[in-house]
Symmetry: C2
Subunit: 301 residues, 2 copies
């Protein structure tokens, strides 16, 4: 088991890297500078969206689409839309009024490079772009409504943005596991789940498969966020490419703050196990999604 486990980890990392190269080419084309856009704005948008990243959400969208028998090409607009939302969230989270971070993905944060006003507007533009890409590039017009609904719910006031608000308000409250779970489900898991559900929808999956892949996304997202909190405690800025060790100082609600490192690792592993169990009906075709779930927590060991 140990050997094959390690093999799988190497494999999924290679697959993620290869996917990111392909996806970044697509995103680069989609975000090409245009005459009718102020140069500074398209520069800031491209800087934020095309900075090196693991592209886990686009990978999920494309993987869930093909898993249910959809065509790979049908998932690209969805993948790009979800990544635009993710990039927007990083730009706004890093702002001085929020987490006030100077480094992101190994580079100066957007507001450090372009100033605060342009960074706020670049984030705004990325949200709008996400919906524009769906509206413009999704080939089946009947899918547009359901896809936009999923993206809005994953992103909006009951999803990621709601989670970010809870995260900020949680800083002034004592650590509580219910609070941390509430924040994780919204801030991180809801967009990851939306990526999965939207990929499945793009692949014309039946409703129960869409729901199942959404549940996988929720569990994966929880595991991902706990692993990220653990990494923030232990890793150096150099490894993470962003400022680390700040969460404890900012009194963020996190699993480590609530239940300690060991219990947090167990909780992350439990979430991964649940994610993998959810995939059971898909059998061997879901191998990538299983490997990805294992990989997500392996980062924090």
């Amino acid at each position: 088991m140990g050997g094959s486990f390690i093999m799988t980890q190497v494999d999924i990392q290679d697959r993620l890297k290869a996917f990111a190269v392909e996806f970044d080419r697509y995103l680069d084309r989609v975000l090409a500078a245009r005459d009718d856009i102020p140069g500074e704005l398209s520069e800031a948008v491209r800087y934020a969206a095309l900075a090196p990243g693991k592209r886990i959400r686009p990978f999920l969208a494309v993987s869930c689409c093909t898993l249910v028998g959809g065509k790979r090409d049908d998932a690209w607009p969805v993948a790009a839309a979800v990544e635009c939302i993710h990039s927007f969230s990083l730009v706004h989270d890093d702002l001085p009024a929020m987490d006030n971070d100077d480094l992101r993905r190994g580079q100066p944060t957007c507001h450090k490079k372009f100033g605060e006003a342009i960074a706020i507007l670049a984030g705004d533009a990325l949200v709008v772009l996400a919906f524009e890409l769906l509206a413009r590039d999704v080939r089946n017009p009947r899918q547009m409504g359901p896809l936009a609904c999923e993206l809005a719910r994953g992103t909006g006031w009951s999803g990621m943005i709601g989670g970010q608000v809870a995260d900020i308000l949680g800083e002034s409250q004592p650590p509580a596991i219910e609070q941390a779970t509430y924040i994780h489900e919204r801030k991180t898991a809801s967009l990851i789940a939306a990526a999965c559900r939207m990929g499945a929808l793009a692949g014309e999956a039946p409703a129960d498969s869409v729901d199942r892949l959404g549940e996988y996304g929720i569990s994966l997202g929880k595991a991902f966020q706990i692993a990220d909190d653990l990494l923030d405690l232990s890793a150096t800025t150099d490894v993470m490419g962003k400022d680390t060790g700040k969460d404890a100082g900012a009194h963020k609600q996190s699993y480590p703050a609530c239940v300690g490192v060991e219990q947090s690792r167990l909780a992350a592993q439990a979430a991964v196990d649940k994610a993998i169990m959810t995939l059971e009906p898909f059998g061997e075709t879901a191998a990538d999604l299983r490997s990805l779930a294992r990989f997500v927590v392996s980062r924090s060991y």
Copy 2:
């Protein structure tokens, strides 16, 4: 002419007021607080969106829909979506990193009331809500793609947000009429035009009517922005319900700064005339839209 002109002005103001009461009831229901949204966030979103306003954009959406023979009810989701975008733009424009305003619609600005982080996130939530309302409430699924495209183009990096970037960058440049026109077309006119086009689309208008009403919106938007710049020069904070006289201090690109007050008034009137001329094929049914165009510049006399 003088008498009937004044009558029309009184009339359109009454009609706008009656419309605003009806629209605000709809928006209030659409933005109802929910258990799954952090209380502070829905409070900030509702504070921003439901603050007293003229509701010109929703009025345009509904008027253009009925003008082309559509049902009034079909335009409400469009009207609400456009107003959410408008409210978002006010919240973000007022931020310390942007125009740094303390007053808006006669009340403390969103960040003065809720803090900067929550204000940024409330603005973000309003953008997402706009697209969610379209996706959820537009009855004809075939319209969803075209409507979302229009809203994204009017709002995004080639529309309003692009105009806001140009506005900020323009502060460090000497006044130039081409620059001011570029900014007005994007920052103000593009969302107003989107409201008109989307209303027409919701009413199942043929493409040439959609385009014509979009042109009307562009001219109206230009007139509106010049009038707003003139008001900023002359009105008191009390009348405007927001900080005034700041544009000149901030070296904003504006018609008055470029060509003086008298030429600016002529330019606004010329834009109104053009807007009214565009409506010619619609005959008497477009009376409201004509009155609205006249009303928009009458504010600055």
